[in-house]
Symmetry: C2
Subunit: 82 residues, 2 copies
């Protein structure tokens, strides 16, 4: 069994309105030295496969087919055996 | 400068409706062997501090003050120098 941890973020050219709002809220709360904030999505998917290469392919396929908006988002993932 | 990667997930006792919906969508799309799906939030925060211990404390403070709902969510984070 594998656990895929998938991190979805906006592409660098896309404005991240939630990040902007959080940054300004932190400044209002008097946090110092906050340079940048971005908000993305985090998915954990448990898969029952045994072959890591096949599971990795399945993860990439399901992320690209269902979880991300190709126009605005990009992703990375880690795959660990559990 | 440090980059904090913050992973917010539901507590284990809390129903994750988005995860349930994604799992059933993947099954409809005929993905095999999807055991479990959960959706959380992923934040990247860049901080200008130099002392790692102080920056870690600031990250914990800002997450607990602004980013999570203590009733339903929990979090982990990584801190890397950039």
């Amino acid at each position: 069994m594998y656990l895929a941890k998938i991190y979805v973020t906006y592409k660098p050219s896309i404005l991240d309105p939630q990040g902007v709002v959080i940054k300004s809220a932190l400044e209002r709360l008097e946090y110092q030295g906050i340079e940048d904030v971005s908000q993305g999505k985090y998915f954990q998917v448990k898969l029952t496969g045994v072959d890591k290469v096949a599971v990795a392919k399945e993860v990439e396929s399901l992320v690209e087919e269902l979880l991300i908006n190709h126009n605005t988002e990009t992703y990375t993932y880690d795959l660990e055996e559990i």
